[in-house]
């Protein structure tokens, strides 16, 4: 129980990676706050967690791109548990935005959630986190934080930017005993990744199933990554044992991108 009684907020925790990070953290004794803007996903998560009596989570509906709703998350967390030890900035959106598209909506939507939302949440949490108490900020980024893919300028921009934010903030708050790290997740077995892969197949004019198999074949370990594996890495980074790991962008990608 390396996270016993630690209060940790997971954004975008209604599905995918966020949900599994929340689960792994609960299993290690953390008191987890899950927020998401999607009511239906949250309801499903609530039911999943209720089924397992040892998992305790506070579920808050919030759009983290809106400052007043970010404040609600912080207020509700403090009201229930009186402190905040960690934040996992997992909420994110992605998708294609070829530069030739007339519409700018996708560009703004991706930057707003992946960067501004992360910024608002981090700022608000740091305001509530005690100094010298092993505070933790964990940002979920991507292998596209370190490499690129055609027609993904918005997503690549946002994910690269998360690393710049992580590295700079790590130095800023190190004196307070707070660490800031990013996890660069490769191809994870989630609906989000499935949708991205299908989109890329369409873009390249290939059948979705063939393309998905090609993608898996290109991963040295020949499989997608289980979101629980990302959860375990997040648990390690959130634990007191990882106090000296800060400013890092750690890859969990089955070898698709190595130094």
């Amino acid at each position: 129980m390396v996270l016993k009684d630690k209060v940790i907020i997971v954004t975008g925790g209604g599905r995918g990676i966020g949900k599994y990070i929340a689960r792994r953290m609960c299993e290690q004794g953390a008191k987890v706050v899950i927020c998401s803007r999607n009511e239906r996903n949250l309801e499903k998560t609530r039911k999943d967690f209720e089924k397992q009596s040892n998992l305790e989570a506070l579920i808050v509906r919030a759009d983290i791109t809106l400052k007043d709703q970010v404040k609600t998350v912080i207020d509700k967390t403090l009201e229930k548990w009186g402190k905040i030890d960690g934040l996992v900035n997992n909420a994110g959106t992605g998708g294609m935005n070829p530069i030739t598209w007339a519409d700018d909506g996708q560009w703004f939507a991706i930057l707003e959630t992946n960067l501004h939302g992360l910024y608002f949440m981090t700022k608000a949490v740091l305001g509530a986190m005690k100094k010298g108490e092993n505070g933790r900020i964990i940002n979920i980024a991507s292998h596209l934080s370190k490499t690129s893919f055609p027609c993904y300028t918005a997503y690549c921009t946002a994910e690269h930017a998360i690393l710049g934010f992580t590295r700079s903030l790590a130095k800023e708050v190190a004196k307070d005993g707070i660490t800031v790290n990013a996890i660069c997740a490769g191809l994870i077995d989630t609906d989000f990744a499935k949708k991205r892969t299908h989109e890329m197949a369409d873009q390249l004019g290939l059948p979705q199933r063939d393309y998905t198999q090609n993608v898996i074949n290109a991963v040295p370990i020949k499989r997608l990554i289980d979101p629980l594996e990302v959860g375990s890495l997040a648990v390690y980074l959130a634990s007191d044992q990882a106090q000296a790991v800060t400013g890092q962008a750690i890859d969990i990608n089955g070898g698709i991108l190595v130094p």
Binding site: R167, A170, K171, A174, K175, G177, T179, G186, P220, I221, K222, I225, D226, L228, E229, G231, S232, L233, Y236, Q241, A242, Q243, A244, V245, T246, G247, Q248, A249, I250, D251, I252, N253, G254, G255, V258, P259
Partner: protein, 259 residues
């Protein structure tokens, strides 16, 4: 973490970081063979840890890791004694300030031999006996000097950059066997080797070692050296089942010095 059925080798396991790694692996249940040239250190470490865990978990074996025959014999010994091998930690290493012009060629050769050939011989011998898809792990201890250089340390820096190159290439080579290969890049760790480095560099700069250590600490965002136990905790995470998708990576544990 349950490492009850795991068999490990830690090179240079008698002192410093290697000793801390050996202790953590043994406490989690693994049987560990430790080797180095200095049998006295090895025997003391083995005795201390075996006394603590109340079981004969650690087995000392004298070996010159630069010597291929010695290395092959060590791995044979492990197989003879325990019948299997799951985890190899290439930790043995040599440091030293060797200015390019003033330094002796023997010093360059010694550092490169120990840090690269030792790792190469051990990895090769271990990979011959490690079973496929049985959670095989190779962890190479590099350094933050595997990511940047420091004046007077061309040999050490070259060797530690080499460790990262070796790890990422080997990771791809053995990924089909379900074996992961990663390197860990510690910053300043509280060890005798670091103390020697502090003294050497301080002398070269005409500074008092304590004063020099203070300036080094002031440049570390978390304002302290790393404990060997913290590096060992990262090793424990990487040998775990949930780290099976992390491969080919070079993970820094440095208090935010390198990013």
């Amino acid at each position: 973490m349950d490492l009850k059925d795991k068999i490990s080798i830690v090179t240079g396991g008698g002192t410093g970081i290697g000793k801390a790694i050996t202790e953590k692996l043994a406490r989690e249940g693994s049987r560990v063979m430790i080797c180095s040239r200095n049998l006295e250190h090895l025997e003391k470490t083995a005795r201390d840890i075996n006394d603590q865990v109340g079981e004969e978990k650690v087995f000392p074996l004298q070996a010159d890791i630069n010597n291929k025959e010695d290395v092959e014999k060590s791995v044979e010994e492990v197989i003879k004694k325990w019948g299997d091998l799951h985890i190899l930690v290439n930790n043995a290493g040599k440091s030293g300030r060797v200015p390019l012009l003033g330094g002796k060629d023997e010093e360059w050769l010694d550092i490169l031999d120990t840090n690269l050939n030792g790792m190469y011989f051990f990895s090769k011998a271990a990979l011959r006996v490690m079973k496929d898809n049985a959670g095989g792990r190779i962890i190479n201890i590099s350094s933050v000097l595997g990511k940047f250089g420091v004046s007077g340390y061309t040999a050490y820096s070259a060797s530690k950059h080499g460790v990262i190159g070796f790890s990422s290439a080997l990771a791809l080579e053995v990924a089909p066997r379900g074996i992961t290969v990663n390197s860990i890049c510690p910053g300043w760790v509280e060890t005798q080797m670091a103390e020697k480095g502090i003294n050497e560099t301080a002398t070269a700069l005409g500074m008092n070692p304590e004063e020099f250590k203070k300036t080094q600490i002031s440049e570390i965002p978390i304002k302290r050296f790393i404990n060997p136990e913290e590096v060992a905790d990262l090793v424990l995470f990487l040998v775990g089942e949930d780290a099976r998708a992390i491969t080919g990576q070079a993970i820094s544990i440095c208090g935010g010095v390198t990013q």
